[in-house]
């Protein structure tokens, strides 16, 4: 499969990343090389093979539902430049 320029635009939207116009050609070239490379997997017959997403066969991944101390509000907010009265603040989404 080949990457198209329309798809690259679509990916910029999905990724919430805009590429500088001057770098678009370079991105397209490098990404095309990567897509060509990973497409080699189409040669492998995987009919009826189950996909693996977890390698150590763990089943139980939940902790007991107990209240324990966690990070303080101050610590949670201290790396943000968008705070207001103990909250994170974002631009207005709904007018």
């Amino acid at each position: 499969m080949k990457l198209t320029r329309t798809e690259l635009k679509h990916l910029e939207g999905l990724s919430r990343i805009a590429i500088d116009a001057s770098k678009e050609e370079e991105y397209f070239k490098k990404l095309s090389t990567i897509v060509d490379y990973i497409s080699v997997l189409s040669k492998v017959d995987t009919e009826g093979i189950k996909p693996t997403s977890q390698v150590t066969n763990l089943e139980k991944g939940l902790r007991d539902d107990e209240v324990t101390p966690s990070m303080s509000q101050e610590d949670v907010l201290k790396n943000s430049k968008h705070t207001w009265k103990g909250y994170f603040k974002i631009p207005k989404v709904i007018e």
């Binding site: 499969m1 990457l3 798809e7 690259l8 679509h10 990916l11 910029e12 999905l14 990724s15 919430r16 990343i17 805009a18 590429i19 770098k23 991105y27 490098k30 990404l31 090389t33 990567i34 897509v35 490379y37 990973i38 080699v40 997997l41 189409s42 492998v44 995987t46 093979i49 189950k50 996909p51 693996t52 997403s53 977890q54 390698v55 150590t56 763990l58 991944g61 939940l62 902790r63 990070m71 610590d75 949670v76 201290k78 790396n79 943000s80 430049k81 968008h82 994170f88 974002i90 631009p91 207005k92 989404v93």
Partner: protein
Amino acid sequence: MIKTLQDKLKNKEISSRELAEEYFRNIEKYDPTLQAFMTVTPERGFETAEEIDKAGVYEGVSGIPMALKDNISVKDIRLTASSRMLEEYISPYDATVVKRLKGGLLMGKTNLDAFAFGASTENSGYMVTKNPWNTKKVAGGSSGGSAAAVASGMAVFALGTDTGGSIRQPAGFCGVVGLKPTYGRSSRYGLAAMGSSLDCPGPITTSVEDAAIVLQLISGVDPMDATSVDIQVPDFRVFESIKGKKAGLPKEFFDPSLVEGLDAGVKEQVLATVKRLQKLGVEIVEVSMPYSVFALPVYYIITPSEISANMTRYDGIRYGHTTLHPEDLLDLYKTSRASFEDEVKRRIFVGNYALSSGYYDAYYNKAMQVRTLIIEEMHKTFEKVDFIVGPTSPTPAFGIGENTDNPVSMYLEDIYTVTANIAGVPAISIPCGLSDGLPVGFQIIAKQFDEKTILDVSFALEQDIAFAKSYTLDLTKL
């Protein structure tokens, strides 16, 4: 080295403070050239040294100078992940592995490819770490800063993280020991996430015994990481004879039609090390692992997919680079995420491509299916042999700038290392000789949770090769 130094501390031949001074002096001497450290932490290092000297209790790694890759959280210390995105980020908590290294003297946080995406530290948003053996060459990556720091005596040991070879390859390039534990053996809590089904923190050291000491400390289940595994941790620090064990040598590793560009010097050193194993009483069995050659494309689908999901957290709101007066929410996201380095952006794009509607089955799901085939093949191989051996990387350290034009040629550096991550098994790189004056890494892979076998084999080989005695790194030229 850890044991020897702790004996000296116990006998009052040296204090922790003096040890810290010596290592900080080395940083002053060598780091301007090597550029291994993102942040040097004398305040924290000396503070701990004083506590240790006062208490006079030497256990674990207490009193020992250590460095941590800068994608591992240390409370109240800057964590950049070597990305401009996190230039001003201060960790609000300790990673579990950091808590478990209590008493270690923090020298600083080491350089990496931004967010650990790379194999040379050339993708760092700040600087390229140089190889102490030859400063025109890369130190490897992504844990290049950690490997260069340990190789040049700026830390006794370091932690790295390994998602596709990021501990083993730089260790191999810098002539030190690098161990990737089994996925789930050491907690991922407090690591800047990359590929969550593959990431593994582990030690970079100058000796196999030190790797065992550090692994012992960082191993074990952690309630803060649901994928850490509650399984018995054996004593890694006691080494047993490897006589009578069986080693598998995959023929695909040496087939030029499948693996391009295996350096002749690397091949020679690796095969000479295989002969040493025979001499030590190990039976060498040729094995075939045809699916292993697909581990690399599988890795470069699964990892970017997991990356694209993990990187959504960088929204410019809660932490990280941001714009102060955005037009709207979308503008806030886009302008903040513009600070990602090129390789970070590329991997997010590839991940979103592989996961997007219409391509999910052809890429992501397909890669997860081939992952199953690779795991099954690995299981079958371990029915016949106790461990698998081969090169860590196809070449010794390459020149700075040599592989930056074509991303795939950089990815091919990981050809021998990714299989262990895809299958979640442990693997190590130990120095086995030189090729053209540069260290060559020898890789040993074992079954899940069988780090013990890896360490036994490494220890036996280390005695036989005597790398540190045979080849001395000349730091006076730095």
